[in-house]
């Protein structure tokens, strides 16, 4: 690397801090707003410094919800989001790793057609098949259920491809040694392949959890009951009423709560997150 003299370094530091400020400012405003009085905000008199209503606002948000008639505690919404995100992440990893295992480690009739059937789903995001999928979920009586929220989002060609790619790098001799050591296909999978895939699974989990938590269009369509709302759908419903009635501190507290789990995951598991992101885009 070419060392640079002081002045240029200061410029670099300055640009980075400006970037960080731009990136962080909307969130700072949200945090500040979530600690203030609604009347002040509605008048356009919001202060840029934190107010003193932190505890009451967050208490109301988590345990009560807005003051409207169809209110729902955000705590419950977060639980729904959590269940959906976990179901999507774990479900995707589970079904993808076993199908990738079959495709890489076995030779069987229709192996390649099956691979292509899975692969092509990359081109069918939920947005392009939204109403027919809705209809099927309705026919299966899965509206307003966790299964309906998660199942249609669970099949993932990306995860299957990722595991396939990883399995291809596992030396053949490991399988041969296992065979000589008397391990059958399931044993080899459980004793050797699964432990070796741990890091890949963790990285994938981080990404899938974030994507699952942040799902919007699908939950919006298939949840009609308030108690099945995810937090992303809930926050949108909070600002559907006319402006004057929107309880901005609660909306902002909900926004902060909606960001908290995925942002925490990114920051706390940065290495896995970066790895997962780069791998899934390959």
């Amino acid at each position: 690397m070419v060392e640079e003299e002081g002045f240029r370094r200061y410029v670099a530091h300055a640009i980075l801090w400006i970037g960080i400020a731009i990136v962080a400012f909307p969130v700072y405003i949200a945090i500040v707003a979530s600690t203030q009085d609604n009347a002040l905000i509605a008048n356009g008199q919001m202060s840029l410094l934190p107010g003193g209503h932190f505890f009451e606002v967050y208490y109301q948000t988590i345990f009560v919800g807005t003051s409207g008639s169809t209110r729902e505690p955000v705590g419950n919404m977060m639980l729904n989001s959590l269940v959906m995100a976990l179901a999507i992440a774990i479900g995707k990893i589970a079904i993808s790793i076993i199908s990738a295992y079959a495709i890489v480690y076995f030779r069987f009739p229709f192996r390649m057609p099956i691979f292509w059937i899975i692969f092509i789903t990359l081109m069918l995001p939920v947005e392009v098949r939204i109403y027919p999928t809705y209809k099927i979920v309705a026919d299966l009586h899965m509206l307003d259920s966790y299964a309906g929220l998660a199942l249609p989002l669970i099949a993932s060609a990306t995860a299957t491809l990722l595991f396939r790619q990883f399995f291809m790098t596992v030396p053949d001799e490991l399988l041969e040694a296992s065979r000589i050591d008397g391990a059958g296909p399931l044993r080899f999978f459980w004793d050797t392949l699964l432990p070796l895939s741990r890091t890949n699974m963790a990285a994938l989990f981080v990404i899938l959890f974030i994507l699952g938590w942040n799902q919007y269009l699908w939950p919006l369509l298939i949840t009609t009951r308030d108690d099945m709302q995810t937090i992303q759908v809930g926050i949108r419903k909070m600002i559907t009423t006319t402006d004057a009635l929107t309880e901005w501190p609660i909306v902002m507290a909900t926004a902060v709560l909606a960001m908290l789990p995925p942002v925490f995951v990114v920051v706390a598991m940065q290495k896995l997150f970066v790895r997962g992101l780069v791998e899934t885009e390959k």
């Binding site: 670099a12 356009g44 919001m46 993808s96 076993i98 076995f106 030779r107 109403y131 099927i136 992101l277």
Partner: protein, 293 residues
């Protein structure tokens, strides 16, 4: 494509692919097929009967000025979001790639917005730039701008582009940084010895070597702008004012659910499917090039 060392088993591999295959067939292929069939049908006003109308839904769509506008708007949004977000992210990545103290901290502080969901992004930005109570709107008005994105379509579009680009910065930053770190440092050293000043080094060495990453991110950003902006639009403007922020995906949603026009919505889905296939195709061609690069 396949291993030399494999297991022999007749039924086990089918059992292993069965769960994924079942989900894919039930929730991907069947609905996609339904969308295609539906797009050739016209339903009566009560949804009781439908008639086969060949390409009428498609012809109607292309005669519809609103649909044509939505296509143009979607592409405009895509490019505006991609270009603004990519250039800002590249600037930050080039700075963060320098041997600075605290570069890991910078990275952490710049990548977390990836985790913010589109509807939340929408809420954050509409709150900041809300015509009556937004903290930034005051300054805009003080500068003499008649700021009201809830009434002014151009301002609404600008707001959406701004918010969507903001969310995408962290993703682009991360990939640019990875791309920069993959360039051997000796190349920069050679350029420096060859007498290239820093700005010149950037345009003659860094930028060309980064071009595969740039192209890759361009495609990803366009796909993002097609689909993931839905949450931002739905919380910020709901397509309004008028139809000035209706994108293709938003139109599929609103025509189908709100308008109840399932045939047209299905035809739009099919067109979107074709677009995704083209975009994915471009992406994969590129991935192959990246491998050889």
């Amino acid at each position: 494509m396949q291993k030399q060392a494999i297991f022999q088993s007749k039924l086990l591999p089918y059992a292993l692919v069965a769960p994924q295959l079942a989900i894919v067939l039930i929730f991907f292929y069947w609905p996609a097929l339904q969308a295609v069939i539906q797009s050739f049908l016209l339903q009566d006003a009560f949804g009781l009967s439908s008639t086969f109308v060949w390409f009428e839904n498609y012809i109607e769509l292309f005669k519809d000025a609103a649909y044509f506008e939505a296509i143009v708007r979607t592409f405009f949004f895509s490019f505006a979001i991609a270009v603004s977000s990519l250039s800002f992210a590249l600037l930050l990545a080039v700075m963060a790639d320098k041997p600075l103290r605290g570069s890991m901290l910078y990275r952490t502080l710049l990548i977390w917005p990836y985790a913010v969901a589109p509807p939340v992004v929408g809420v954050l930005w509409i709150f900041m730039l809300h015509p009556s109570l937004g903290v930034l709107s005051r300054y805009l008005r003080n500068m003499g701008i008649d700021w009201n994105p809830l009434l002014n379509g151009d301002q609404a579009a600008a707001l959406i582009i701004l918010a969507a680009a903001w969310k995408q910065i962290s993703y682009n930053f991360l990939f640019f940084l990875a791309g920069l770190q993959a360039i051997p440092k000796s190349v920069f050293e050679a350029a420096a010895i060859d007498g290239a000043r820093p700005m010149r080094r950037f345009w003659t060495v860094t930028f060309p070597l980064l071009s595969p990453t740039i192209f890759f991110l361009l495609v990803v950003n366009i796909v993002y702008a097609f689909f993931d902006t839905f949450g931002i639009i739905d919380t910020m403007t709901r397509g309004g004012p008028g139809t000035s922020t209706v994108t293709l995906v938003y139109k599929v949603y609103s025509d189908g659910l709100l308008g109840g026009n399932l045939g047209s919505s299905a035809a739009q889905s099919v067109i979107l499917m074709v677009m995704v296939i083209v975009l994915t195709g471009i992406q994969f061609r590129f991935v192959e090039r990246k491998v050889t690069y």
